[in-house]
Chain length 396, copies 4
């Protein structure tokens, strides 16, 4: 035995905050020959696919499908409703609002950014101040990241909607649900969200490569007033195509559509309310373990208040830069890959647990057990009984 | 036996001009769990992947990879070098030049389109006239579709380059090789092409969902002078990323990258010169059969002159609208799906044979044999000995 | 281009007489995690699977499933009904009757073999002589290979049954349908077959590794009188299990069962009568082409009379040992692998076309076209118009 | 939410004692077209495959591969060395020795069985008594189950060898390593094992359907003296074939061979010593947790002494028939399927954890965490700190 013993040989588990674990049914559905793109099954399955996407987003309105990643949907959404020179408001509680705002600058928008740091949710007072200050309604949209994947903050979108309504501000409410769709409760129509962007590789459990822009009539009215929308980003024909190729402005993402179909079947067989409840319970188990570990003084959760935490990802900090060694231990010794810290000052201290999409009780326990093992191996002080506390939550 | 006997039960063969037949190795490579996108194998395989892409395009210059279809690369390429108000010249010999030109209008460009119809290659005299008429060099780019998938015309790009050089016209030469890359000989650097766009689902044998924009220094110099390029389309970080996510402006198309890797392995194991020679020989066999069928008077090839024909797709016409019945016969009775006519006046008369990418001798013979069978079933007059003529070409 | 150009790069087609082409649905069904073998889906699907197997064999009687190949079912069948010292009659029209007879010797049986050579079906007069000579009924079974894969002879089982009945001979009629089940018409109950053996990798389109022994009450009565049957071969619990593991005498062939389920779904969706009719038509097309090639004097079909030919495999001979070069050409230049000759004197002259299971019109045309091409390349004299003759058969 | 919330939606984990978890590489390798069985890759890969099988068993001697399950290898092994009327000795410490002994009776052997119950290893004194009593050496073989899957007892084979040697008893030592090969240390040649049987679906991580009989020269000498060995079971040509089909007495298990190749690659890349050490560590972690749970009084391990426990499976008992409810909870609420009790009196109390083959740290923690959760849900008394104890073992 010249090399070191590893306990990682076995099924690998990638518990990063996306791409998430792909169900076997999704991968099987994608392992197939190219389909005809002019006639037959693929064309016929689109109306139900679109309807089932809407059901996940809880909207009766429109959805445009893009061959793109999540960043692509940022640009797509902005391109349909924000003209060069127009202003957007970006309340940031994590890295991704900054990214979306930069994209807005890239298309010529002006950005008013309110930075809440990396561990705090929106402060509605400051947002209200910004909106009130916008007396001549220059702000055309508010970019609202529902769950920030880097900070694991979950923002309160209904309250933002109420604020806009209270102030009678006409700005579009544009939500980024890339990390939350199919994980955290999200009700597009009930919550009054005008535009919502998401992607397929997290709660929708399909390999990265497809994005979605949902929009309501108010948003489409703004699009109709745009001086120009580039053809690839224009959501109009995509959402209401006369011909199949218009769904995608060209060739369809054939295999991804089969994968997404399988994923939507899983979601709706379970029921979206149950999907949310499952994520809620699993997240609560994770928090319970982490809060006990935190008693040891070395670990803390990035988001203090449970009600501001994502049900899909949990960002954690370890003192003394122990996050990186911990991740390396779980990957090389346990067969579990955790997420790196993103956008945090303590690069080596931060790590993230992904618990989105195709995740169940035994997977959460594998994750927590591996973290416990790594902390033991690294002699990191921690409270006792964390795993049993998680088990009790799952048992209840 | 209440239903009708069909001879189609068996392995289906989709001989449409894209998506093409996916090699088993590609589908196997994509049937895998999500990989880590922050560390490890996927990140490490990118430099060689990029280099092997360049080798297919015969360029030492840059390539930006997009999660998009071919239409997306049209917009991407234009967005990097054509500012609103600038002019492009579009010599069209088929539907797709029109499509690209419309995309240019969508980003605010002016388009000067020369229409050569649906069955003729470029007329260089008319192109020369247009360039000469552009005394103040308003034309910033010429959109040059190498192979038009609808008409199966292959245009002569080196001659266009020579023309630009002769006239000392500085317009960028932008080629669309979506239907030709990995099929017809294409030499980006030797031919002096400044920008080339392609996609993965034809000669590159990977499920639709990824596109490529190759560009040289002259093109990049123009991009550097652009007033603004949107972040998603900007090719700069994609072609020279500091971090992995910059290759894709966000989440990587994880499974597609594995698929493309497998496809490039196949191409380079065979050798790109051999790949071209194989397509040449297979196309010649197809033409030989079609030319003999044509002697019957009912069928004709859309492109008269062999030297203007694509090696990847062949558009054909049948009198009396017999194209649609023929396609229906091969699909329902033989297990072979052929391409519909696109952009032709005789919708029901036109059909297309795809012979791109993962295609070999026995597949071409299956295609031709099925067409012969369908013509027999439909009593379509045709010359005798077409299949044997094709066999002789393949045997030589 | 240092190496030689090959036109084989593309989808490979294995047209050998088994293993046959596996449908995508079968391979997909097998690409799955291990199932529970004590509870759930796998256990529950067995009764319908057994019933659907019976439907393919056209029997209301019993079937025992073995994890084995076809040879294993030979031994299994014999072990249940033939005791050491008992005699079997083996009328041989090809290599595989010899093989089965050797297996009988291996379990201690005496074998009376009548050899009809490699290109003739049974001569019923000689069989009748042998049965009549058996005045004291020492012959306990007649081994009847329905289709011999090596010679491509199809024997006439109903006539053999009638002969046994006419002579009032009580010997069991044991049929080997390994190469014919799901290809050539076979009616176990109507034809009065007592025992039938088959395997999964030919007409049943599932990767090799599973075999089947069907038996009726007369056969089981003989088994009940056996002094001893080894536990693994004993068909009794396998055909009428109290517990799931008894189907297989131990661990189930989990993934094969899913594959077979998918294959049976394909067969019964098409309808077994249609499956037979498809094979009949495809075989007729092949014969038509071969008979025309034969006019050139170099090629001949191993079986002269169409009514004695298998619908699943066709054995051919080329003069001057040209069979091997022809196979090498199709494999290395066309992407088509043909079957070698088995048990023939002219090893290098003989080759075989497989056309069993998942095979349709375009595949047969690929096979024939490739043979035509190879004959052209090798300058083998042949009649003209063979491919068009095949096309006419398929078109009718 | 009409139905009940379940936390099982997600990746299912089958932690039963075989079939075990199949590695992605194995399933991928099996998802392929049928290969040629007369020429090429499959034929060429056999010598290395056989050699790599030998390396797992730690033998320089012979191996015969059977298309069969483990039970088939029992019969195969016996058929080669035990003639009707000969005697075997079967010291039983679990259900499977009984099964093998019944198979011996099925081939006409006499069986002398010593039953040590379901929770005790061999008592060598009693075995010695039996061997000593066999003055005229009627006992031709001792059936030695290394690890009994039902009881999770691991027997001490080297001591049994020493006993035979001390007594100068010529009986063959025949080991069943179905549940131990590739998990528990096993050294065929060093330990003086004459015949060893195993199967592919446990430590060898390949879907059920292939078995192996290893044998040394002493065993083969006995086979040479056998009056008759049936052709399918005869190991002679399988172990030393002149032609490819002789490896398998007929058609090869094509897809399983590719799967096994991938599995052997994984094993030897890790190193068999490391494979054993990994299983040792993982089992120790499991025992540590179970021993703490046992302090609660409701649970106990079937095998008291660690040195008699398998590293591949752990049988446990819960009072009050709580085993079945516990299994049901983990399956329906956690996504983890555990093994039922086999051959125990307390059917509903017994359950088993499989930890064989493709298993790593995070999987063991998932298993233990799920059991903890189920015990919490069912209010089963248990010691505290079990999961953390397991983590400490894995961390060390």
């Amino acid at each position: 035995m010249t090399k070191q013993l590893s306990l990682a040989q076995g099924r690998e588990y990638l518990a990063i905050p996306g791409p998430s674990v792909m169900p076997d049914a999704v991968l099987q559905a994608m392992h197939r020959p190219s389909p005809n793109i002019y006639d037959g099954e693929l064309i016929e399955m689109m109306p139900a696919l679109v309807q089932d996407l809407r059901r996940v987003a809880r909207t009766e309105h429109n959805v445009a499908i893009y061959i793109s990643n999540g960043h692509g949907t940022w640009e797509a959404a902005l391109s349909n409703v924000i003209a060069p020179g127009e202003t957007i408001l970006a309340p940031a509680s994590g890295r991704f609002t900054h990214g979306w705002a930069e994209m807005a600058i890239g298309i010529g928008a002006k950005v008013e950014l309110i930075d809440f740091g990396t561990s705090s949710p929106w402060d509605f007072d400051r947002i209200a101040d910004a909106l009130r200050a916008d007396a001549d309604r220059q702000i055309k949209a508010v970019l609202a990241v529902h769950v920030d994947t880097s900070s694991s903050i979950r923002n309160d979108i209904p309250t933002l909607r109420a604020l806009l309504d209270d102030l009678n501000h006409p700005a579009l409410l544009m939500a980024d649900c890339i990390a939350s769709l199919g994980c955290d409760r999200f009700e597009m129509d009930d919550w009054g969200v005008d535009v919502m962007v998401s992607a397929c590789q997290k709660g929708l459990m399909t390999p990265a490569g497809m994005g979605f822009v949902f929009f309501n009539n108010k948003a489409h009215a703004k699009r109709s007033r745009m001086p120009r929308v580039s053809q690839y980003w224009d959501w109009t024909p995509r959402a209401n195509p006369d011909l199949f190729y218009q769904y995608f402005n060209g060739t369809a993402p054939t295999h991804h559509l089969y994968g997404l179909r399988a994923a939507l079947d899983l979601i709706h067989a379970e029921g979206i309310e149950h999907v949310w409840a499952r994520h809620e319970r699993l997240a609560t188990a994770i928090w319970s373990a982490c809060e006990i570990w935190a008693e040891g003084g070395a670990l803390h959760l990035n988001v203090t208040d449970r009600k501001h935490r994502s049900r899909a990802v949990t960002a954690l900090h370890l003192s003394d830069g122990q996050g990186t060694p911990l991740r390396q231990f779980t990957e090389t010794q346990m067969g579990l890959t955790l997420g790196i810290g993103l956008g945090m000052e303590d690069w080596d201290g931060c790590f993230r647990l992904g618990h989105m999409g195709h995740v169940n009780g035994q997977m959460v326990l594998a994750t927590l057990g591996s973290v416990e093992t790594a902390m033991a191996a690294l002699n990191i002080p921690r409270g006792a009984g964390a795993l049993e506390a998680a088990a009790r939550v799952l048992a209840s």
